[in-house]
Every structure is written in C-alpha cells, then in structure tokens.
Symmetry: C2
Subunit: 325 residues, 2 copies
Amino acid sequence: MTLSERKIISLIYEIIGDSLSSLLPFNDDAVAIEIGEIVLVINTDMFVRKTDAPQGMAVRQIGQKVIVMNVSDLAAKGATPVGFLSALGFPSDYSKNDIEELLHGFKEACSLYRIPYLGGDTNEADDLVIAGIALGITNKDELISRAGAQEGDLVCVTGMFGKTAAGFKILLDNLECPEYLRNEFIEAVFYPRARLDEGCALAKSRVPTASIDSSDGLAWSLHEIAKASNIGIEINELPIDLSVEEFARLNHLDPFDLCFYGGEEFELIVTIPPEKIVHASAALNAVKGQLIPIGRVVKAEGLFYTEGEKTREIYPRGYEHFTKH
Amino acid sequence: MTLSERKIISLIYEIIGDSLSSLLPFNDDAVAIEIGEIVLVINTDMFVRKTDAPQGMAVRQIGQKVIVMNVSDLAAKGATPVGFLSALGFPSDYSKNDIEELLHGFKEACSLYRIPYLGGDTNEADDLVIAGIALGITNKDELISRAGAQEGDLVCVTGMFGKTAAGFKILLDNLECPEYLRNEFIEAVFYPRARLDEGCALAKSRVPTASIDSSDGLAWSLHEIAKASNIGIEINELPIDLSVEEFARLNHLDPFDLCFYGGEEFELIVTIPPEKIVHASAALNAVKGQLIPIGRVVKAEGLFYTEGEKTREIYPRGYEHFTKH
C-alpha cells in the first residue's frame, strides 16, 4: 500500500479523532459504549482471502477463524459474547459448496464460543472478504484497556508462543519439520483458538491493569501495551513452546524470533500487580487456563529481553495485516 | 455469481437459522438484541466500489453513502444511533488523498446523523471494500419489524420516488436530460439522505405496524413487507416525483418503472392502521417530514397498482446488491 496500515490509522485519528467516543482509548482491541448500566464492547475484524488466508486453509477454517479473530478481542477486554454479525463479499464464481462450508465454519465457532449468530449482509466482491462483528457485554469496573499498565506490574501470558510462526515457516517457506511436530504447527495456523474463558475470568477477578490479545504477534502487542500505558517492559522468560524450540534447533532458527515476531496467535497478554498474581492465577485455573509470568513493567521506555547477562532489544515488528483502529 | 445473493441468504437461514437470536425476524432491515432494559439495533451493510459506486461518484460521497446506507436501516427500525464502526479494505495503490476524502465523508455524515464514530479495522484488499456497522437503541415497545402489516392498514411513504432511477439512467445509459433536472437526479444518486428523524418520530408514535427502508427499490421493499407479513398490497397512488415524471415524458419511459423498480433510495415505507394516520402524520410533521399514503394492505396475496380501471402487477424486481440477511 502507498500508506501503511499504521499510517492509515494515524490519519483516522487525525481526521475523526475529535469525535471518537469509545470508553476505550483509540486503537484498543475493541470499542466500548455504555448502554444503560451495561458496557457494550464491539469489535470488527476484516478477513481478506488474498492477504489473510495461507495456502491450504479450507473455507470452513476461514469461517471459524473470522469468529476467533473477533471473539479474541472481546476476550482481551473481558467481555462476554452476546452476538456475531458478518458482512460477506463473495467472488462471482464462488460455489454453493464453498459458501456452505464457510457457514458451517461460522456455526461451529459460534457454538464453541457460545456467541449467537445474529445476521448480516451479503454482496459480490472480487475476492472473499468477510467483515466479522462481535458484540460482548461487561460492566465499567471490569472493562480492561491496554493503557493501564503500571511500573512494577508483572507481565503475564495465557499460553506459549511460536507455533503459528513455525507453521508459517513450513507453509510459506517450505521449511522441513518432522511429522509429529508438523501437525501441531499447521493446526495452530488453521485452527486457532481464542482465550475467551480466560479473558472473562481475568476480567471478573478485576486484577489486570492492562490487557491485549497477541494477534499481531507477541512483540507488537507488548509494544502496544507499552505505548498506550507509557511504560517500558522487561521480559525475563521466553514464553516459547517446547516443540517450537525443537523446530528452531532443527532449522537453525533463532527461538527469540519465532517467539516474539510471529502473529496470528490468540493468547492474551495482561499486566498484573505482583501482590495480586495468586488471585489472578487461581481465577485462571478455575477455567482450566494458566497464567504465565514472563516479565515486568518498568519505568524506562523500551522493550528488552534479559537472560542472565545478555540483553536484547525487542523491536515493534509483527504482522501488518489485522490492524485495528 | 453462481448463486444469487437471495439464494445465499436462504442458505444462511438453512444452515445457521436454528441458532439465530435476533428480536427481529431473519432478513429484516437490521438485527436487535436486548441489553438490559434497552433494545440494541445493529446493522451492517458492505459497500464494494466495483459493484456499488456508479462512475463519477467521489470518494467523499462514498464515505457519506456508507453511513447513509447503515443509518437508514436504523431509521426503518426506529432506533436512535449510538455509534458507527467501519471495517475498511483499501487497494494497495490507494492514495493518501483518497483515504482522507473517505474519512472526511465519514465525518460529515456522522455529524449529520449525530452518530459517534467509534473505530474499526483497516486492511489491504483488491478493491475498496467498506463494511459499515451502525448501532442504535430503542425499546421493545417501539421496535418495528417488517412483519407486522395487517389487512386494512394504509401503506405510506416518507417521500417521492424515481430520482435515483432517473439519475442512473443518465449516468449509466447516457439518457438525455435538461440541465435543471439533471442536477437534481445526480444529486439523488451521489448524496442520498437517510430518513432518520422520520423513522425515530414514527417509532415514538408507536403507530406503524411494519417498516422497511426502500434501499432495494420500492417494488422490492413492498414485496418484502408483504412476504414477511403474509399479506398483499394494493397501491393506488404512484409516489413519483414530478421532475421524474417530466424526465419519463422526455425520454418516453414508463413512470411506473422509474417509480417502482429503482433502488438506492432511502425513503421509509410503513404500514399504519387508518384510524391512526392523523397521529402518525402529526408526528412526522413535527420533524418536518411528510407521510404520504399510497395504498392499502389487503388479504389476497400479490402486489398490484390500480389506477381507475387499470390494474398492473408490481413484480419483485429491484437491485440485487445491498441485500441483507
């Protein structure tokens, strides 16, 4: 694009910024408004087949993923889903079977995340384009923005990273991988899961000071929290999946890169005051989730990974697609 | 398309129908859910440049129209706007100036309809694709579906028809037209207006038994009311604009066709019990709108236009784009 998606988002802020009226800061995971006593959280994420579907992704998987993408942002804000809509653009030669597969994908994911399908709009387009719209509810005390991280807070994640990065290396760069690992990585790309129960449990615990999903990659999402909260972050534990470490070894890749610069992962990243970590952890365990501390919020700007004596800077790199404004 | 948009909508109903949970019937103008005591009305309409923008339409006008399309459906349901979101797909060569123009169009229309811009999502796509999402609120007593028309009700509209049909004849078929008419018709195509104040006033009057907007054309929308309400309609007055009648005369066109088979018009069509017509009319006059009775709901299936001795059938024809499910 002539303008990067990040620049377009700045333009939006510049032109419409003064009339924005979300309860959440501009460019958060979702927007939120008060409807009576209740806070309505709304998210829209567009899926464009050409740029967003890796080769080999089945139409049914696309249908599921559109819902995962959208529900994940509700999860990051701690909102309970109340409805899903879609605006659909189908190419003129799209077959009945493909449309059916897409709808079955919708149905399965709606059922998995207990989000009722409400309706939408249907059009003709050059490529398969799906705007998903997820609605969720919460209350003002439990709504978590990405802007509240405080110095001293622990930075925690809800799972390990790197599987989708490894999956993309296999699918896009044809890297070699033993079969027993391959399936796991490909599944991470084709069947991502949103951490909805975890997000709702964290919100109900009222403990996190900031929350974001990791759909743009761990590094990018950490930078978003840091920028929005005006703080720095120091990571001490690489939250990398063991299989991904093995894949990195086999292919002489840097595990650091696979862990931080992936994307299309839907873990949650939250910041939590250290004295409340036990409470938060218990809340997550109650929904069979896990809370993994990986670092700490610091006053000084910047993002670093420190392991023993070695310190490496974490750059704001990630997937340019799937950006929110 | 291999499947028409109407067939795709049937497929959606077939596959996801059992989990639908809108307060409004499937395929109404919008969907609605209860949020506490309040009814939230949500509408999404996608705009695809290739199929939806007539040649000569400026980007700023596209921005405005996306909001008009979406707000018009809220108007038909009598909902007061509370927020607008957009999922944007931009072609890779889209210029900064074009993006700015689009955003200014958004801003102007948001201001006109007093709908706050909340946020959205930005992507790369082959063509300019915009999914607009409009949120509005009402209460259960005032929500009007398209399914409540009763035998004996008067069929009324909020304005005259045919200007956009004439505009399309000029723009697409190069029909001739004197300058003093031309501007009016082109403006109807490029600067449509939603009947928001009228829709809200009608809802507050609690008088209409059914309501729909006419974005798919007068004939199509009347058929939608008839089908959803399981009734027939007899039209006695052709609600055609005087300038359009003149245009029809000059070009030897049938005014009936221009009136019924246009589209991209955003008048409201409502059905009202005859004893309440004075009340409804007063409600509309209070917001400087007008309520024009054009016919009556009848028991027998079918749609007819009767003028003196002559009766003509009104077919379910209209624009295939901009269909809702």
